[in-house]
Symmetry: C5
Subunit: 99 residues, 5 copies
C-alpha cells in the first residue's frame, strides 16, 4: 500500500457499466513527512474518504478485493483512512493535527 | 487508474486471435493540470473514446474485467471518458472547455 | 500494452520445463516517434514476430492469456505485430516505410 | 521480493472491514549495502517483524498468498525476516551486527 | 522477463511457512551489454542457478506458475539460465565467454 492525500474527484458519465456508482478520488502521493510528491493516482473509494484526508490505497488485483470493486476494471482502491503514522518512534502525521 | 488523453491509434493485422476486433488507442498520460507528460500506453477501448478525449484507464489484470477484454492478452483498458475533474476545489478540466 | 521493436533473442537450455519451446525475444521499447528508448524487456513470442519488426507487448498476468503462455512463468508476451500507428492525425510509423 | 527495513507503523480506524486486525508496517527500501533508499511502502505483517528489522516483502497478488491476507485489498506483505545476505561472497548484512 | 546476474543470497529463519525451503537469490539487473544496472531484486530459484550466472526472471503472479512457488507469497522467480543473447545480429553475451 502507499500513503496519499485525497485532493480531488473525477466525474465520468460514459463509462464501463460495471463501474457505475463507484466514486473516483484523485490521490496525491505523500512522502514519510506527509509532504506531497509528484505521483498521483485515481482510485475508487470504498471507505468514504473525504478531501484532504490521508489514506492508504492498494493497487493491482488487490484493488478488486472489496465488494464494490470485485470483478470491475478498477486497479486502485482507497481501503483505509489514516489516523496517524510514526517513523523511528516519531509521530509524523496525526489526523486533525497535521492536516 | 490514471488520467490520459487519447492521441492516436495502432493498427495490427497479424495478432493473437483473441484480440481480434479490439481497438487499440494510444494514450498520452497527463498531469493534474491536464498537461501532457512523457508517459504513454496503448490500451484497448471499451467505451467508444475518440481522439483528444480525456479518459481513465486501468492496467494489469483489472484491464481484463470487461466483456470485450476478458481472458485476452490485454493489460490496459480505457474504462471511462472523463467529463471533468477538480483538485482542491478548483476545476482543472471540463470537457468542451479545456480541450 | 507498449510499443517496442524486436532487436534480439535469448537462448536458454536449462529452464523451467513449462517454458520449453517458447521463443524469447528482446524488445527495445520505442517512443511515439518510433525512436529507441532505454527500456527493454524479454517477451515470449506467440505471433511469429521477426527481428526489427514493431510490436505490441502485454505484461503481467495478461501475458499468460494465450494458449502457449497459459499457466507458465512468463510475464511478457508479444501479442501483435504493428502495421502502423498515428498520433494526432499524423502517421508516425508504417511498416516497410519507417523500418 | 525486495529488501527493506521496518521503520514505522500506520494506524487506521476506518478501513475496509476485511483488513481489520492486519498490522501495517512502513518499510524503507534499502540497497545491497543495507543503506536506505528513497523508496518506501506500507505492508501487512504476517511474520511478527519489529521496528529496525530487515525484511523481505512481496507485492501484487503474491501479497495475498498468506492466510491473513487472502482475499483482502492488500498489495504488499512482509513474508520473511532477514538473518543475513551476501553479495559476491561478501557478507553485506548480518542481523545483530549491522543493525 | 528481465535479464539479470545472480550475485548473492538472502538467508531467513523466521518466514511465512509456505516459503520454507525456497532459495532466495539476489539478482543484479543488467543492460543489453551485460553490464550491471542499479536495479536488483530478490527472486526464488527453481532452476538451480548459481552465483554469477546470467538468468531470466519473471515477476508478479507469473512468478507463482511453478510447482515450487505455486500459492506462495513470492513475486519473482528465476525461470531460466541464459546460454547467450544477441542484439541486432551481434552476440552480446555467451556463457563461459563473457562471464
Amino acid at each position: 500500500m502507499k500513503l496519499a492525500k485525497v485532493v480531488g474527484t473525477v466525474v465520468s458519465t460514459r463509462k464501463e457499466e460495471s463501474v457505475e456508482g463507484l466514486k473516483f478520488l484523485i490521490l496525491q502521493q505523500v512522502d514519510l513527512e506527509g509532504k506531497d510528491t509528484n505521483g498521483f493516482v485515481v482510485a475508487a473509494d470504498v471507505v468514504g474518504a473525504g478531501i484532504s484526508e490521508m489514506v492508504l490505497f492498494a493497487t493491482g488485483s488487490s484493488a478488486r478485493q472489496t465488494v464494490r470493486t470485485d470483478k470491475r476494471p478498477c486497479d486502485a482502491v482507497v481501503m483505509a483512512i489514516v489516523d496517524n503514522w510514526e517513523v523511528n518512534g516519531e509521530l509524523k502525521y496525526k489526523k486533525g493535527v497535521h492536516d
